[in-house]
């Protein structure tokens, strides 16, 4: 595996090659990724991603906040799947606390997570196709994404920075009419996926730009830490939702799409099929949505209902205590991983027994996936670099944190 390791300093040296900067302001780098290319004509000799332009020190900031104050920060790591970040963090803290979450809250979390996955994959599909030159897909994808964002707004009051999952349950009861709207969307959505597939899957130009491009073997993908659709596109059958279930995923039946080829098209197929599977999971979550409370019965951790605070002294006191002092979390450490739209998102939370986390580390799926780029692109054309970057679905906010 030595060929995967080379990461030399980039200097224009030999006579034939030149150094070219792609980004940090290039439209196809989805944020501020800078890719340094050594090129020989149109051929890429070496490639080196340069990251850190969006580094905001979120991990450091978390150490200065109460546990519940970290939730809004997690939204801002990956702006395409804030609810997945919320979920991963709250699951980690709930594991530290040993909290039992009521089943309605768990099912709501699954429902919203799958909608988030659809939302994220739609942005990926639109921008990825746009990068390669298929403009119209973008418009269709963002049409459906808008519907999902409206659902998020209904349930949490926010389109993107939702912070809807709280330690111990959900922030609010889902509003009247939410389930009908969600059901309506889920009913319509499969035909929309057909629309995208009509535009792309059989399209010969799309095929030529993606098939056989940026190929990566299963062995290399594992060695380089790939996860999510990037790993499954290389034929590794592993999905945390099915294989190491969390938040009640063991109650759902779904297929994990895999492709064997390991090229851009394989990863495209994986994600497009995931759109359909996620829709099916969301349907199951809606059909089987249990009744009951949305918050765990743990007054020292979970904020009381607004109504109770007006009538019950204890609720008022607990509210005051949680807001001003936070709540102490028993000493320990947990690593909680969830299947985000991009792969294995993990939160490693260390508690020293106080009300503020001693250390919060986010395992960013994109950071690991980005390491595949040199193995994918070296020896290929510059145009393939654009296809390869799109196919690993990077979000720079998550990479840089």
């Amino acid at each position: 595996m030595a060929h995967l390791n080379a990461m030399p300093t980039m200097e224009a040296g030999q006579d034939r090659t030149m150094i070219l900067n792609m980004g940090p302001q290039h439209p196809s780098t989805h944020g501020v990724l800078r890719v340094i290319l050594e090129i020989d004509g149109e051929n890429v000799v070496r490639i080196m991603p340069d990251i850190g332009y969006l580094h905001t020190g979120i991990e450091k900031t978390c150490e200065a906040k109460f546990y519940q104050q970290v939730v809004p920060l997690t939204d801002r790591i990956d702006y395409l799947c804030p609810l997945t970040n919320n979920l991963c963090y709250v699951l980690a803290v709930e594991k530290l606390l040993g909290l039992e979450i009521p089943s309605k809250a768990q099912w709501m979390r699954v429902l919203l997570n799958e909608l988030t996955r659809i939302n994220s994959h739609l942005v990926w599909l639109g921008t990825h196709a746009l990068d390669i030159g298929a403009m119209s897909v973008f418009l269709y994808c963002f049409r459906e994404r808008e519907d999902i964002l409206r659902l998020f707004e209904m349930v949490s009051g926010q389109r993107m920075m939702t912070s809807y999952f709280r330690i111990g349950g959900l922030a609010l009861e889902p509003p009247i009419g939410f389930f009908d709207k969600a059901r309506d969307f889920i009913r319509r959505f499969p035909s929309k996926v057909d629309e995208y597939e009509n535009l792309l899957t059989g399209n010969p130009i799309w095929g030529m730009r993606t098939k056989g491009v940026a190929r990566i073997s299963a062995e290399d993908a594992i060695a380089l830490g790939a996860s999510g659709p990037t790993l499954r596109g290389s034929g590794v059958d592993f999905d945390l939702r099915r294989d190491m279930p969390y938040s009640g995923y063991e109650n759902f039946k779904f297929k994990v799409p895999i492709s064997q080829e390991g090229d851009v098209f394989a990863r495209y197929m994986c994600r497009v099929q995931e759109l359909r599977e996620s829709n099916a999971i969301a349907q199951q979550a809606l059909d089987g949505m249990p009744e009951g409370p949305i918050k765990a019965d743990s007054p020292k951790v979970v904020l009381p209902d607004r109504e109770k605070m007006k009538t019950q002294m204890e609720s008022l006191i607990y509210h005051f205590k949680i807001i001003t002092e936070g709540f102490a979390v028993p000493e320990g450490e947990v690593y909680q991983a969830v299947e985000s739209p991009r792969g294995e998102m993990g939160y490693y939370v260390v508690s020293d027994g106080t009300a503020k986390p001693y250390r919060v580390h986010m395992r960013a799926a994109c950071l690991a996936n980005l390491q595949l780029l040199p193995a994918m692109c070296e020896g290929r054309l510059i145009a393939d670099v654009v296809a390869a970057i799109g196919s690993i679905d990077i979000v720079l906010g998550e990479i840089d944190r």
Binding site: N5, L97, G225, D243, H361, Q371
Partner: protein
């Protein structure tokens, strides 16, 4: 909310595949183990992290063939100050294990595992960038998130949250 207390007696943990494998290996010095909240942590001596990783990756029964994450915790002002933490995953057996290496506060360093898992490349660079832990044998140990010219290591506990002004 009480959970079951952590098990730290290594004799009781001998049925975990990773513990069996590491104890059976002559080149790995195991300093302790902890089973807490359904998660297994094994403390390994600083010099044997590479061997421990190779042993676990090549375990025929339960191959921990996937490196999920490398990170670090600063326990300032305690000594040993740093804990470098490796999260390994067995894709086939759906099992996780956490390896930990304790390092002293003065010029902390340990061997890089990039030759075992190339994915450690960025993870180790990140730990170096934010904690100042050096990984010997890393092919390209330079700052990854902070600017090249940055002074100090931001995630150390003696580094202020607002930064130096």
């Amino acid at each position: 909310m009480p959970g079951t207390p952590a098990i730290t007696d290594i004799e009781q943990l001998k049925d975990h595949p990773a513990v069996i494998r590491l104890l059976a290996s002559s080149s790995v010095v195991v300093e302790g183990a902890k089973f807490d909240r359904e998660e297994m942590s094994i403390y390994v001596h600083r010099g044997s992290i590479r061997d421990a990783c190779v042993q676990l990756r090549d375990d025929p029964g339960c191959p921990f063939n996937y490196l999920s994450d490398v990170t670090c915790v600063d326990w300032y002002p305690q000594e040993p100050r740093f804990e470098v933490i490796y999260h390994l995953l067995s894709i086939s057996q759906r099992e996780r294990v956490r390896l930990k290496v304790r390092l002293s506060g003065s010029s902390p360093s340990l061997e890089s595992i990039t030759s075992i898992w190339p994915s450690a490349n960025y993870f180790e660079r990140e730990v170096y960038d934010l904690f100042g832990v050096r990984f010997e044998g890393h092919p390209y140990l330079r700052r990854i998130l902070m600017p090249e010219s940055w002074d100090g290591y931001p995630l150390r506990k003696d580094y202020p949250v607002e930064g130096y002004r």
